[in-house]
């Protein structure tokens, strides 16, 4: 079983970072960036990717061990049991948690079904809460850092994305509330708010809409996931030891 790899490696002095949505996109790049910074990685994704996945290969190349769990972050029992097996099997301290699992399901508000609205809130907001709740307990004695993935849509709102914008606005407020609640435990909580970033999520957008967007970005291009991941790494490590409750835009100047 893949999980056993890290069990066998209990003696490792490398810190451990948990990353949700690690199978692709910003989560994958964050896993690599954290491995480069000396972390071993535990990845959560819906597909569970695998010990042979691209994320695993890239993390290993960067010198880190990679373990993956199949978790739907919107399902409470999934999150709870993944944390339980992670903590009991692993026996190692969790130093950082990056919550990158997220979805879009765009549509105009007037015709958006309640189910479509709920599905995005369930993954992006409830899922973030469920992961944070377990992370706090796991890090309660040692402290650590939590980094949430927000979006510029959560700051200024995006037409056609009422569900997504609301979920990310919620993530921003959660970042600030949680930062205050757990600061006394030595846990810092921050968010990164990317603008348009070249991942599957962005590639799913209509080509005309994508091209139209670029002219509104002062830097005249979308972000590479590695550029977002560097901000994630900054907030997830001691480099940002006096920063908590902040939302860091990585958006090429879009919200400037």
């Amino acid at each position: 079983m893949v999980e056993e790899k890290i069990v066998a490696d209990q003696s490792s002095a490398r810190p451990v970072a948990l990353i949700t949505g690690a199978s692709r996109g910003i989560g994958q790049s964050s896993a690599v960036a954290m491995a480069e910074a000396g972390f071993d990685i535990v990845g959560f994704s819906q597909s569970g990717d695998s010990g042979n996945s691209e994320t695993c290969r890239l993390v290993n190349l960067a010198g880190g061990a990679y373990v993956t769990h199949k978790v739907n972050v919107a399902v409470e029992s999934d999150v709870r049991s993944a944390f339980r097996s992670l903590l009991t099997a692993n026996g190692r301290r969790l130093h950082a948690v990056v919550v990158s699992a997220g979805i879009t399901s765009d549509g105009l508000a007037a015709t958006m079904s309640a189910d479509r609205f709920d599905s995005v809130i369930a993954v992006n907001l409830r899922g973030t809460f469920l992961v944070c709740r377990e992370a706090i307990k796991a890090m309660r004695k040692t402290g650590g850092a939590i980094v949430l993935l927000s979006s510029t849509s959560g700051v200024s709102g995006q037409a056609g994305q009422v569900n997504y914008s609301a979920s990310k606005g919620g993530v921003n407020a959660m970042t600030q509330a949680l930062a205050k609640e757990v600061a006394g435990l030595g846990i810092r909580v921050n968010a990164v708010a990317p603008g348009f970033t070249e991942t599957d999520m962005f590639r799913r957008m209509d080509v005309k809409a994508r091209n139209g967007l670029i002219q509104h970005i002062p830097l005249q291009r979308v972000a590479k996931p590695e550029e977002v991941a560097r901000a994630v790494r900054f907030l997830a490590t001691e480099e940002s030891s006096y920063i908590t409750g902040q939302i860091l835009p990585v958006d090429g100047g879009l919200t400037a």
Binding site: R80, R84, L87, T88, I136, K137, R140, G184, L185
Partner: protein, 99 residues
């Protein structure tokens, strides 16, 4: 000699579970109290052991880590006493129930 009936075994099991929960909580919270001297019906908060909200986080975490019992604020009543905590633990985690 005491006859080892099912009820007797059950009572012993419950006695041991209460003791294990007391040890876990007192040890985990690092309280200057002998776990064997804590009354199983004594409130954990307020006048009882005088615990605070950070202690709640610790108890909730310890119950999950040591006994596999998951507590949220819907089960606030469990902080009423060690007995209430163990009643809930047995009800929610059949493996702990000696019956």
């Amino acid at each position: 000699m005491v006859q080892r009936t099912a009820q007797y075994e059950r009572a012993v099991h419950r006695y041991e579970l209460n003791a294990a929960v007391r040890r876990s909580i007192i040890g985990g919270l690092d309280l200057p109290v002998d776990p064997d001297l804590v009354d199983d019906d004594q409130p954990l908060f307020g006048r009882g052991l005088e615990l605070d909200s950070l202690d709640t986080l610790e108890i909730v975490s310890l119950m999950e880590e040591d006994f596999g019992v998951y507590i949220t604020d819907e089960q606030r009543f469990v902080f009423g006493s060690v007995n209430k905590l163990v009643d809930f633990a047995e009800a929610s985690q059949p493996a702990l129930d000696g019956a």
